[in-house]
Symmetry: C2
Subunit: 215 residues, 2 copies
């Protein structure tokens, strides 16, 4: 048995499959070559024992020895400490990874996730609030486009956990065609999500939920 | 001269004063008792040299020796490594701080910041998108209320940088009366923002921008 256990839902509907946030943790574990097992928690009946480890009633969480960690961004930074494949050891490289991880979690995901959820819900998109989020997201994507037009990866001159997270955030925008005007962002998502570790993580998440359909 | 320099705008309009994100960094520096100086960058004309250090054209950024760091959340985690006042050294305490820092940056700020911006803009709030953000924010606040009803501080049994960040996120909701149904969250914001280090940081930010009015 590995020391590392990733917990995700036992099942989710078709629509969010491939987007549940255990995927980014699977991806990091595969990039790092760490051994892990996957546990399930009920999607439909989230009891007190779920809220005790994940206070927002979401997934994933990770157990590593006697530590339990929630928030996928925190899990990624925890795993990054265990593997140079995810983060270099020198202060400048670590700082670059940290600032871009936070940029993905806050500066980019903050407009992109509501924007994607509005589309997911099928809202008409004509309200001032919808227009505001369009402009907010596009302003951030313009800046990401300028950055990614000039470099292959965000931090430390090579692929790190910062790219893993930023690409995972941006591919959810891409899913609703939000990157159409931002070719450097599109190419970045493409070169990130064709990495073997992403492909395995994606296939494993799809198989995990498909197995629950069959059960 | 201190090794640590915090850079913020030279001036901002009245409305965002007291909310510019250099405040949370000032607060952390005061809690940690670290010596620092404050530099200004133009609010009105943001040139290439601004985007070179802060790719989204925002503030703050921090220089610490030969490192420059953007994203206030990343700056807080950087400072937390320098001071036990902000984060304990043991693995469990560090993990708890990390997960709640990310919870503030992503799970809570993600609905709260668009929600607050919609109010700041004075939108009517009747669109499906506005209702969605209301429900999204309230769902997260219900969970924060359950957590804060049972503990004084979020991580490691004492005030840490996770509280500093979460309280700074929640006070922006409080400003638009969004915590009215969440008394534990309100009390948490009150006990955080009456700390001498917050009061000094707040007063210093207000004085910094007021000095620019007079100039």
């Amino acid at each position: 048995m590995s020391e590392i256990t990733l917990t995700t839902y036992d099942w989710v509907p078709e629509m969010p499959r491939g987007l549940v946030r255990d995927l980014r943790v699977r991806w990091a574990l595969e990039e790092a070559g760490l051994t892990y097992q996957v546990n399930s928690t009920p999607f439909r009946d989230r009891g007190p024992e779920h809220f005790a480890v994940q206070p927002f009633g979401q997934v994933p969480w990770l157990t590593d020895g006697n530590l339990t960690i929630f928030e996928s961004g925190a899990i990624l930074l925890h795993l990054a400490e265990k593997s140079r494949a995810l983060m270099p050891k020198d202060p400048r490289g670590r700082t670059e990874v940290l600032e871009w991880v936070v940029a993905a979690l806050n500066s980019v995901d903050l407009p992109s996730q509501p924007w994607a959820l509005f589309r997911f819900m099928g809202y008409p998109g004509e309200s001032p609030e919808a227009q505001f989020m369009d402009n907010f997201l596009n302003a951030r994507l313009e800046r990401m486009e300028a950055v990614l037009a000039n470099r292959e990866w965000l931090a430390a001159g090579r692929f790190t956990v910062a790219d893993l997270l930023m690409a995972d955030v941006l591919r959810q925008v891409d899913r609703f065609d939000g990157l159409a005007k931002f070719p450097a962002c599109q190419h970045y998502v493409a070169r990130s999500t064709t990495r073997p570790a992403f492909v395995k993580a994606y296939d494993d998440q799809m198989a995990h939920f498909a197995a629950a359909d069959a059960a």
